[in-house]
Symmetry: C2
């Protein structure tokens, strides 16, 4: 099950696949999309601000430059679920519908670039390469969503949290060569809970427990240090097959 290519000996092949997917799921730049990049307009959103709202006309597409956002769905009785966190490099706002199918809010102070949907659509028509690039972006998003389906459907609370911490760290350090040994947590406990299908109390208890076991350190509410990454990888049950 092990491979000499793996820097972390306990990593199975499947775990590797998952880690790779997670990291590559938010590409720094698909080539043709990069061209487009220059025409966008930049904007700042403070923590808590709504960027797009479910049901409103989908007139713009966005790309995250800095900070973090949450894509939110709320049930009639108030239960909330976060379908994804949007981090630097991620696109959002693209849909086949005329209205946005979800709400996006700034989970921390955030910088975003936005483009008109019309400009985006005509780019797709004129430049098949761009269309193909974007197909890849969506295909990667879909793969990430499917990983998350498995996490929500079949993993324990502890596995979910361990998985989340590792994936977040890898994503935040997308461009880095070395595996990160710590990560910022731009979102609060409540956001993490709603992303992992847990309650805030469970998230808090699990973090405390990981700290007590010397697997992580919590220097502040918005940072995690990996003291034993390998233990975390084992707990995360990353593997398939």
């Amino acid at each position: 099950m092990q491979t000499t290519l793996s820097p972390s000996p306990s990593f199975t092949r499947a775990a590797w696949r998952e880690a790779r997917l997670a990291r590559s799921s938010r590409p720094a730049a698909e080539p043709a999309v990069a061209t487009f990049e220059r025409t966008g307009q930049i904007a700042n959103y403070p923590r808590g601000k709504t960027v797009i709202e479910e049901g409103k006309p989908a007139l713009k597409v966005f790309r995250v430059v800095g900070g973090a956002l949450r894509s939110v769905r709320v049930l009639a009785d108030g239960r909330r679920h976060i379908t994804q966190f949007l981090l630097p490099g991620d696109f959002f706002g693209f849909t086949h519908e005329s209205e946005y199918p979800y709400t996006v809010e700034a989970a921390a102070d955030t910088i975003i670039v936005h483009y008109s949907r019309r400009a985006f659509e005509s780019l797709l028509e004129e430049n098949p390469k761009a269309g193909r690039s974007f197909l890849n972006v969506l295909s990667k998003e879909l793969a990430a969503a499917q990983n998350h389906l498995v996490l929500l459907g079949r993993k324990s609370a502890e596995e979910r949290l361990a998985n989340f911490l590792l994936t977040l760290a890898d994503t935040m350090a997308r461009d880095a060569k070395r595996q990160p040994t710590s990560t910022e947590l731009p979102m609060n406990r409540s956001d993490i809970a709603d992303y992992l299908g847990l309650t805030i109390e469970t998230v808090s208890r699990l973090l405390t427990r990981l700290r007590q076991r010397n697997i992580i350190d919590l220097p502040s509410n918005h940072a995690v240090v990996f003291r034993d990454r390998q233990a975390l990888e084992v707990l995360s049950q990353a593997g398939a097959e």
Copy 2:
């Protein structure tokens, strides 16, 4: 919250959106894709047969003609999750990777059309309309996956099952004008459980309970009749917002 356009008075706007999404998420035919359709080769797969396998080279793309398949991911310790059921009209096997990221098995006896990946790729390059069509297909798949994330993350066992029965019925009767009053269940209890993040026992108990409350009827293990669709809609908590 109600609208006169809704045939079912208890349906909220959000519930409608969800139902519409679910139904449209597997389009009968995106125009440019239909052209492509003719070049494919047809094949039969008996129940249980594996069509594609996680990790194997992704050389073909597929479209379901008849029957039902399951897209499966298995954790190291044997826990299984079904990320989606593939029903007539659905595509599968498309990925940006060189290998398939999931396994697909026939959940019932199935008919499939398959195309070479190369032919498919060159179609995308030559025909921007086809690319755009396929972007829509992926975008709809993504929307469906996000609905399912909310279901797994925040809905109770009963809500999940009610939701599943309604969505399945609507999808199976994609082309019908009237809302279906019954549906075939091409997959077994175990597949349903692994799709909804539950156990087979819980699925069975819930079905029995719905029958005892006269909300559904179970004329056979592979069929459901809706005796009180509205009650089922209420239980499914379809709504957002």
